[in-house]
Structures are given as C-alpha cells and as structure tokens.
C-alpha cells in the first residue's frame, strides 16, 4: 500500500487493508490502555463485551456530533464527542464505563486532523477513566458530508439514575459555572464574524466534578445545558416537573467577554450551548454543601445558586431581571441570528 497518504480516500472506509492500517496507526494506539470487558476494542471482533455491574442501573445514551469549525478555541469535535456523551451520563448520576466511537469521514479529510481529533477524544476519556468499547469508520464522497461526523454511545452505571424531571418545590437551582462559553466561542470563531475574542469553549467532561456531589445526597434533578442553552434546559426541567423555576438573572455567572459579544450580536448567552456545565437542582438543606463541593473542583469554580423552584406558573421559567423586572424565559426558537443595528 502507498506509504505517504495524508488524506482520507474511499478505500479507507472499504474494510480492507487501508482501513486496518488507518486504525492500527492512528486510532488504536490511543485506546489500548483501558479495557472494561473480556473482548475489548483491541480484539477488533464483531462486538465487545462489558462486565455487568453487581447492582444499580445501567444508563445508556447516544449522540451524533457535527460542529463548525471542526477545531475551535478550547476544543475540537473529538473533545466535543467524548464530553457530550460522558456529560449525558454524568447528569444522570451515572459513572461512565465505556463509549463507542463511530466516525464518518469525507473523502480528502486530512489524516493529521484525525490524529488530533482522536487524541482529543482519548484525552477526555482518560480524565474520566472511560474505555472505548468498539468503533466504526465509514467514508463518504466529496461533498456528501462536511468533513467529519461522529456518533458516540455511552454506557454508565448508577446506584439510582437521576432524571431531569425530579425538581421539588423549595429546591435550589444551581449551575456549575459560567454560561454561554461554548456557543459564543463558536459564534466568534466562525469566519463570517471576523471577531477576535479570547473566548474559549468550556467543553469538558463534568463527571469528575459531579462525582464529588453525589455522595452528599439530595440531588433531585440534573441536566446539561447543551443545544438551546440554559433557556432550553431550564424550560425542559420546569415542564417535566410541572413546577416553576424562579431564576435571578443577575446570579447567572456570565463571563465579561461572553456578555460583550452577546450584547453586540443581540444573541442571549442563555440561548447558546454549553459543553462542560450542569444544572443541578437540590434539596434546600444540602445547597451549601453541594455548592462547596462544586467550587472545590476546578470545573466548578464559578458554580452559583441561580434560583429556586416555586409553583406560581406551572411548567414555566420566570426570570427576575437585574433591574428588578420579571419576564418569562421561553425555549429559544432555533439557531440564533445576529441583529442588524
């Protein structure tokens, strides 16, 4: 086979020698270190095995990832794919065990970029002590896909999984850190905006932080505010619990640079994605302990109580604005568009 190939060709997805070589040289070395089953990813068998936990619940989640640009300030599609899935498990209160990795590549995708992406992916897994169970690679023709798409399925185990619907009246609403970082970093990184900012995505696995609050108890509901941002996640939690989330806007931690870009573009930081944050709703008596545990972890340094659970407007989110006005915070509609003047 040709030695100096540096871009993806259709043969890389054909299941033959080229694919074997790609996986052996660029993928497997990153995943061999950790194994959770008798037949693991390095066996390259038709499937992988996982040892069943002795008790508790298995939690499974799946997610497909596309992002533009593929490499953005603070991360890339590899970090995003790993953190996105691990975070879905973490906010279910589940310790992540294993993850699958299915990659679809566009013909001509640079192999050096695959190296970077796989390394990022593996880096996030290492922090959370997660193994790759199995994987898949496909190649599509030029123009049939925009570079790369990744699907991941995560499997975790929880004593008793925590849903996003369990808020109770009187509970406190916490966020684990600053809001809007990922979405605003991407907006500013997209070429069309041509803005130089120091914004970085917050993409990270929140499991190491969440792990520290679970033993405290009293966690009634959790959710990661990804697409649709804090606004969508809070609305979902309010709707599912049938209660009212009463939020103090001034208490929501927002970086200066995020607030600035947000004002400029007319896009609310509450409407854009976060990739390393959790909304945590807890019983009032454990609020201070949970907050302290979050703040003790580097990812939770800016954690804050942003409101409480009431019942005045069932299923709705009510925001008290910094000036003391009140309004409903509704689901964002779709992709935010910057305003004209």
């Amino acid at each position: 086979m040709t030695e100096s190939i540096d871009r993806i060709s259709p043969l890389h997805g054909a299941g033959g020698e080229m694919m074997e070589q790609l996986l052996a040289e660029h993928v497997m070395p990153h995943f061999a270190a950790r194994s959770v089953g008798r037949i693991d990813v390095t066996a390259m068998d038709d499937g992988a095995t996982l040892r069943l936990p002795s008790d508790g619940e298995l939690v499974v989640t799946t997610d497909s990832h596309v992002v533009k640009p593929v490499f953005f300030p603070g991360g890339d599609i590899g970090t995003l794919a790993a953190a996105g899935t691990l975070n879905d498990l973490a906010v279910m209160g589940a310790r992540p065990l294993a993850i699958t990795l299915a990659v679809i590549l566009e013909e001509d995708f640079p192999i050096a970029d695959i190296d970077r992406i796989v390394r990022s992916f593996a880096g996030v897994l290492a922090e959370s002590e997660v193994a790759v169970a199995c994987g898949d690679t496909k190649v599509m023709g030029r123009g049939e896909l925009d570079g790369i798409a990744i699907n991941t399925t995560g499997i975790g185990v929880a004593d008793r999984a925590i849903s996003d619907a369990g808020a109770e009246e009187g509970d406190a609403v916490l966020v684990s850190g600053t809001i809007g970082d990922h979405g605003m970093a991407l907006l500013s990184a997209r070429e069309a905006f041509r803005l130089d900012t120091e914004l970085r995505s917050d993409v990270a696995s929140v499991w190491p932080m969440i792990r520290s609050i679970l033993p405290i108890g009293g966690v009634h509901a959790m959710k990661d505010p990804t697409r649709g941002g804090l606004a969508a996640a809070l609305n979902e939690m309010a709707r599912k619990s049938g209660l009212t989330l009463e939020i103090e806007q001034a208490a929501i931690p927002i970086r200066e640079a995020v607030a600035g870009l947000s004002d400029m573009l007319g896009i609310s930081p509450l409407d854009v994605a976060n990739e390393g944050k959790a909304i945590i709703i807890v019983a009032p008596e454990v609020t201070e302990n949970v907050l302290a545990a979050l703040r003790a972890h580097p990812l939770g340094r800016d954690a804050a109580v942003i409101g409480h659970v009431g019942s005045s407007h069932p299923g709705r989110v009510v925001v008290t604005t910094p000036v003391g006005g009140r309004r409903f915070l509704d689901m964002p509609l779709g992709d935010p568009v910057p305003r004209i003047c």
Binding site: A259, V323, C341
Partner: protein
C-alpha cells in the same frame, strides 16, 4: 463578570418606577418608541411590569427590516435573478416580497449571501469578478457605513441597492395618521447619536408633544419615560435629551458629513405606512455608477400588498400591540412568520414572541 449593573440597579429602578407612578396621569397615555433595541430592552428586562396600567409603551416603525417596502424586496430579488451576488443582512432573507423572499430566490439558485456589514459586502466584491450588490437597509445608524464603503474606492463590480430610511420624518407622519393617538415619543438613542436633536425639532416641533431621547439600559429607558410623563404633567411638549452621555445636540458631524457626501433625500415607501416625502436616501449623481437600480435598469414599483389577517401595518404604526393580532403566536411565529414584524429580529412581534412580551408573570 456580568453586566454593568449600575445601569440596572434595582434600587434605582424602584425609585424611578415610584416617580413614574407619581407622574402618570389618571387617563391612559400612549408612549411610542421607534427602535427594536428599545423594545428588546423593555421586554427582556421586564420593564412594563414597572409601569402603571395607564401607561402604554409601544414599538412603532422601529425595525428596519419590517419597514422595508415590498418594492425594495422585489428589486433585490430581481437583481439576484439577473446574476448579481446579493449581499444582505440575515433577517432580510425571509421578508416577503410580491413573488418571493430572498430565501426563496436562493432556493431557486440565486447567489444570496448574508453579511454583517457593508464592509463585508465590499470585501466580497473585491474577492470576485462577479457583480456584487449590497442591499443597504437601516436607519441613520447604518447609512454612514454604506456611505463609508462608497467613499472607500469600491471596485467597478460593486453596487448598492439603497433602502435606507430616516426616522424623524416617519415619526411626524405617524402623528397625522388616524387612530394613532400618540402622547409622547421615546426617541432612539443610537439614531440620535448620529443626527442629534435638531431633526426632531424640525419635524416634530409643530406637534408640541414630548420627544425624549433615551438610552438602552433599563434605567435609561425608565428615566426617559419619567421625563416624558413629567412634560405631560407640566403641559409641555419639547425635544429633550435623556441620553446625554452618548448623544450630543449636534449629533455626530463626521457621520453626517459621510451621509451628506454620498446621499440626498428621497421620497420612499415604508411598509405599513406608504410613501413619506424625504424620508429616505438616494445616491447623489456622482455615485450613480454604484446605483444597482441604474446599473441593472430596475425601476419596478410594487403596491404594498396587505397580507390577509396580518396586522403588521397596525403594529408598525403603533395602532396595535402584537398580541392584538389574531395570527400572533398561532399561525404566525418566528419559525413560520406571516408578516415582516415577525421576521425581523427587531420586529415587535418577534421580540414579544421570543422574550415573553405578550404576558407578564
């Protein structure tokens, strides 16, 4: 971290709200602003909750996207159909013309590109051999930016479809329309940074109603509303600057010079209102080569089609709130807008829908 809270201090807001309650007359008062950013701030900060029930604050023709006439949209569609690369602000792509939206034209193969500024459009022209047309919408705030690129030695493949409009002229016309019943104007802060106070005096002076320039922070807006109510209580009706930290009486001479170098006044059509004398701009003779209408020979005039059931015209003339429209939030949402007020992100309907303006918690 966070925002400049001194301009959103709840204690000061409470004081201003108390002042507003003391100043408000017992009979209903209608205050109109003409700026999407004002509506956004009022709705996002929940400011209507501070106002007594007798004080109503409405958005008039304050959304540049919403007031762009069908004729201008049609011209943009025609230019794109003739093969020009049409550069436009994002919201414009979804505003209905007679036949098509620009989005519709794009799906038929036209090259429509979304830009964030006139400078982006000029850059596009410099990077291609094709004809590039910038669809120039917006008020006195964006007109100087268009002027600046035309003075920046644009390449011959660049031209402009001018649809800029002037706010004070429209504010005056609104007062003559039946059924508007406006008691005072909250004048737009950023337009005023450009034009200063004189144009308001010139066009609105004869009506003798309060016109107060307001900023965009919550306290700026409450303060401006208090100034309007104080004038009403005292039986006065003058132009007053409630935003002196940004607005100078003479405006921004550099920006005005740019506008004057490139544009002259023209009678233009506003959606929902109709033609208003001298309420817009056209290119001066010296810039005729950059006039997209001239270059492509587009002189079509479209009527202002009313969309059945849609009350955009009433919303744009402050004769109705978005919630008064039977389509609002039902058949007409930002995802599938019927009228332009739901399309433009500065449009009252869009803002009310997105930020919960239709109901107060």
């Amino acid at each position: 971290m966070g925002r400049p809270f001194e301009l959103a201090d709840p204690k000061r807001a409470r004081q201003l709200a108390d002042a507003i309650i003391l100043l408000a007359p017992p009979t209903p008062v209608k205050i109109v602003h003409v700026c999407g950013t004002h509506e956004m701030a009022i709705t996002q900060s929940g400011l209507r909750r501070f106002l007594p029930s007798t004080v109503q604050v409405l958005e008039g023709p304050g959304c540049p996207v919403c007031v762009t006439s069908t004729a201008d949209i049609d011209a943009a569609v025609q230019l794109a159909e003739r093969g020009a690369v049409l550069c436009t602000f994002g919201d414009m792509t979804r505003v209905p013309g007679t036949r098509l939206t620009l989005e519709g034209a794009r799906s038929k193969g036209c090259d429509i590109r979304v830009v964030l500024s006139s400078a982006d459009a000029l850059r596009t022209a410099r990077e291609t051999e094709q004809d590039v047309v910038f669809f120039a919408v917006g008020f006195e705030t964006t007109a100087p930016m268009t002027a600046a690129v035309l003075l920046d030695d644009p390449p011959p493949n660049f031209s402009v479809l001018v649809a800029h409009k002037k706010i004070p002229e429209a504010m005056a016309v609104l007062l003559d329309l039946p059924g508007t019943g406006i008691h005072g104007y909250l004048a737009p802060g950023h337009v005023s940074t450009i034009i200063g106070l004189q144009p308001y005096q010139h066009h609105l002076g004869r009506f003798g109603l309060p016109v107060v320039v307001g900023g965009f922070e919550p306290l700026d807006i409450l303060y401006a509303i208090a100034l309007i109510l104080r004038q009403l209580r005292d039986g006065r009706g003058v132009v007053e600057n409630g935003f002196p930290r940004a607005v100078a009486a003479e405006g921004n001479p550099a920006a005005l010079t740019l506008i004057d170098a490139v544009f002259e006044s023209a009678t233009v059509a506003w959606r929902g209102i109709g033609e208003i004398p001298d309420s817009g701009y056209r290119l001066r003779e010296a810039f005729a080569p950059f006039d997209a209408r001239e270059r492509f020979g587009i002189h079509g005039q479209a009527g202002e089609e009313e969309i059945p059931g849609c009350r955009c015209a009433d919303v744009l003339t402050a004769r109705a709130t978005p919630a008064d429209c039977p389509l609002f939030g039902r058949r007409c949402t930002p995802l599938s807008p019927v009228g332009p007020c739901m399309v433009g992100s500065e449009g009252a309907c869009s803002i009310w829908f997105r930020y919960g303006g239709r109901e107060l918690p």
